[in-house]
Symmetry: none
Subunit: 190 residues, 4 copies
Amino acid sequence: MKLKDDKKIVQIFQAALKLVAKKGLSGVTMGDISREAGIATGTLYVYFKGKDELINALFAACRENSVQVSFKGYNPQLPFKPGFKNIWLNILRYKLQHFEEVIFMEQCYHSPFITAGTREKAQQLSAPFYALMERGQKEQLIKQTDTGLLLIFMLGAMNELVKQTHYSGITLNRSRINSTFDLCWDALKA
Amino acid sequence: MKLKDDKKIVQIFQAALKLVAKKGLSGVTMGDISREAGIATGTLYVYFKGKDELINALFAACRENSVQVSFKGYNPQLPFKPGFKNIWLNILRYKLQHFEEVIFMEQCYHSPFITAGTREKAQQLSAPFYALMERGQKEQLIKQTDTGLLLIFMLGAMNELVKQTHYSGITLNRSRINSTFDLCWDALKA
Amino acid sequence: MKLKDDKKIVQIFQAALKLVAKKGLSGVTMGDISREAGIATGTLYVYFKGKDELINALFAACRENSVQVSFKGYNPQLPFKPGFKNIWLNILRYKLQHFEEVIFMEQCYHSPFITAGTREKAQQLSAPFYALMERGQKEQLIKQTDTGLLLIFMLGAMNELVKQTHYSGITLNRSRINSTFDLCWDALKA
Amino acid sequence: MKLKDDKKIVQIFQAALKLVAKKGLSGVTMGDISREAGIATGTLYVYFKGKDELINALFAACRENSVQVSFKGYNPQLPFKPGFKNIWLNILRYKLQHFEEVIFMEQCYHSPFITAGTREKAQQLSAPFYALMERGQKEQLIKQTDTGLLLIFMLGAMNELVKQTHYSGITLNRSRINSTFDLCWDALKA
DNA sequence: GATGAATGAGATTTCATTCAT
DNA sequence: TATGAATGAAATCTCATTCAT
């Protein structure tokens, strides 16, 4: 008797992401997902109790992934601005490389699938970002406005930028990335 | 003889907006919409050929509405910054007061409902915003970065701000609005 | 106040015939008929209590028409065979010229629309055909087989011939008509 | 694992035939068919993409069946007339025993369900009948009239005879069958 | 565990009929 | 009478989920 197969979960997640990016959350069925993942429909139910659970699990995974990646290489000992820019670039890279996840999370947010619990957990994962901003504020480098406001402002802007970049087919060269960063920095800096 | 009633289209649109905001695009059925609008399901099909057409029409209407409202009171003869702020406030007000439309449009964008044609038309309506930004750039008040980038940056940030505001239940007082505007302006200003 | 308009009934009948010939009885709706007839759907219900009544009335009209036409020019004083051929030609002409009626009646026969009463009346209208055949039998010109059998044989064959002719686009010249008649006559003749 | 079950297709076909014979093509719904076949409505869609496909498939199956049965026991080495009568009897037997198929095919022919392709294929299956008639013509036993005409004449007549027989409740005894055959033969013979 | 046919509740859509004008 | 919008029952079809293999 085989055991549950982690590789299969990855297949399922990737299938779901691809399809949601292409057809939107409301256009994706369990049948679509299984077909795309190369497994039988019934098998989906071996790994997830139902569609809701699948979506919630994927949402949580994406969210976790996005946070984890963001702080790669961040060293709080080093000065703020280069550390901040490092994280900013991590986020940008993540959003560009995992564009499907970005879309998926956006689609989910207002859907009836995501439970309060999942939403809650997602919020909790924001803590390091708040901490980062607060450090900048403490060091007088970042505006003293409401921290959540600043964060949301930055992330919202980045999201839209990434979508725009993706759809317009522009490749972001270094100079374009830098001028984009400057927009963010100028907005936030004290 | 009974005549087709434009008021009924408004009822249908409002019902759809309300429901999509509450349950997400994927959770709303034609039956839900008709019930909420206080008409028979069949009547929906008197006004729209199908669900697709209804969604597309509503999307177009929201988009048009949002643009029209934005430029209310704008006078290109007056200096740039106050005019810009006027528009910024219009947008903010629209997004807050018509929050359901904001959510609806976001939900739609990646759905299988919106056709290429509808997307196209939506894009064309952005022209006045581009013109506004270009004026600011010509007057050396706005960064010389790619105009689309600047716009997207601003609108993405505003969108997220509004969502945050809405869900956190904060009421935006004048000072909070102003500091939010400053974020945008500092980002964009040359 | 206008009175019911006989011309409108003709329009309705013609619309129904045309549509049934094109799309089959199961593909025709009251909306289709009214549109084709150039009147409002509601108006259909001024002239007929419902779809059933409309179909039954049209069926009866077609049936009556087909019989009436068949005996045009028939004089029972004259010898049998030329009289018979005259009728045969009348039937052929009717079926070719009113092909839509032929199709309509065939479609109706096994439909749930036609009531027992309508079917009954249709049967009664066959009496002159029976009489004709019986005369031929009495004069020893026609086989002594069951009269109904002979009739059905002839009419079934003609029906199929007309359909074949119609769909193949062949125009029936005199010689082709004659050889077709010979088939019938040879079958029936004593 | 459950496998698709050919027996289920037979059940579906039989249910559809029975219902169409009873209520006419326009009166039969997918729900009716599934109920009669003893399966869930959704299951119909496992076997057929939609109502159209079901009807077309059934039409094709009936047509094929009717042709196959007709030539059972036919040996082209033997003299023409007994071979012809053998086939004639096969056809008669088929039409009487599979009366529902006869009605179904008639109902379908002018319906919006049958596609041009299906019609085409049905026509191609007529080839052996043409060949048979041509043999009779070559042997100077059958009239030299257009082959299609002769065929259509015979089949149309038989069709109507069978319908008449069925509805009148007459049982065809040998002598009645023979006199019916004589009608056909006298019509066709040179 | 893996499969995919089977299910049936529910979604979309159609359409005969009614009704207000 | 004539109109065509409005209705809602019923038809077609979809799809999350179950189940037999």
